[in-house]
Symmetry: C2
Subunit: 254 residues, 2 copies
């Protein structure tokens, strides 16, 4: 598969950066074509602002981001750095987001990549969303390194279950924009990992990647699949498990 | 109360920017002292990187962000822009984060503010966290404008319940760093709001702010309050409502 890895860590010698090398070498040795967007190395501009719309937005006039984003995207007037990333996204069949979990989310520099690259008309093209949209047909996966221990992210852990912590990325960004989302690969206690711990995680990661084409995606419910009352986006009664609340309701049950 | 408003919107004429003016004028007319950090206007540097540690980190050497952050904070060698924001945080009794909900979280520029200003030793000072830490004794509140409709954020809404969507900010950032968190003020369908809709929200917001000193905080469970098994951070059995899962478990029940 044509694979784009969006990578956000300021030091390639980190645990996370070392895992990136494993990811690239495993994918390439399995015959996949790989491109890497290294956000820190590229000095990626993190915030979306009026400089993103140099031709279509009159400097100093009202800036409604979604409107300007749509205008600049559809008229091919986005900035070159954004256009290059969008070309990579269009090329990719699999998109891997690899990052350290900072404050329980992606680093600001990667959040800014999503804000700038997932333009209106491409990353969101309402009313298409949640299983439909500009990135339909692509697969996505997170590779995440967490500083904390695994128990903190377990079902009763104080940080919240890891699947819930990553839900706003997996479901509300990646599935939202049409992608099929594979289960995330997460490592814990990363800052203090020994070489042995790293090698164990690396082996597990290589094994996951070997099977990347057949891994079952997370079974999120498509907005247009009949499970929701439209308009309103309300899940119909009786589809969830008894007592189930919150994010879990939006995953189909077998 | 001494109030710091951290504001992230690229246009002060937006719905969000107009709400900011309401917030400031109401707080000041009630006798509160107000400072505003306007991230876009300040050209805030969004990403944390080695330039954050100009004295204590040798350029090009290994960069472990938490370690460098602790080192630079404790030796008073952070950059001036960060030091100024930390001084405002130390001064404040109430911190309001006001932003548009982009991709179901705060804008990248504000995420970067948290990454850079909540230094190790201040914003997180392990093992103190969740109800203890550098910002103990301060109150925090979100003022959020959402583009989508309210039903999408209801208990069965496809975006997830708004309290869950904001949980990673309220609980895992603000409560984590020691602050007491007030319920968020959220407006919906903001991009297409009429003047009448704005005025209704503005009146509701002013009324909330008038009562700011007596609003009941969200009853998050303190990590050191006896509800968790330490180490491990696991919620003890039987404290949650029957069938309750996920983020909700970490809120005390009456």
């Amino acid at each position: 598969m044509k694979t784009l890895i969006v990578f956000a860590h300021p030091d390639e010698r980190s645990f996370n950066g070392s895992l990136l090398k494993e990811t690239v070498s495993q994918l390439e040795s399995d015959g996949h074509e790989v491109k890497v967007t290294d956000l820190y190395k590229q000095h990626w501009k993190s915030q979306i602002d009026e400089d993103d719309f140099p031709v279509t937005h009159e400097k100093g006039s009202r800036l409604v981001v979604a409107v300007e984003s749509q205008k600049a995207y559809s008229s091919h007037h986005l900035t070159l750095d954004v256009v290059e990333e969008q070309e990579k996204m269009k090329w990719a069949e699999l998109v891997i987001f690899q990052f350290p979990l900072w404050w329980f989310s992606m680093p600001a520099i990667m959040k800014g990549w999503v804000e700038r690259v997932f333009s209106a008309g491409l990353g969101y093209a309402l009313p298409d969303r949640y299983g439909a949209g500009g990135f339909e047909g692509k697969k996505a996966m997170l590779i995440v390194t967490a500083g904390g221990g695994e128990s903190n992210y377990s079902a009763r852990g104080i940080n919240g279950p890891i699947d819930d912590v990553l839900h706003l990325i997996n479901h509300n960004m990646l599935f939202y924009s049409g992608m099929t989302v594979l289960p995330s690969f997460v490592t814990y206690k990363t800052d203090y990992a020994t070489e042995e711990v790293f090698q164990n995680y690396a082996a597990k990661l290589r094994n996951t990647l070997k099977n990347i084409e057949t891994i079952e995606p997370i079974k999120y419910r498509k907005q247009s699949g009949g499970d929701y009352v439209i308009p309103g986006g309300i899940l119909k009664e009786g589809l969830e498990r008894p007592g189930e609340t919150g994010f879990d309701m939006h995953i189909q049950k077998d």
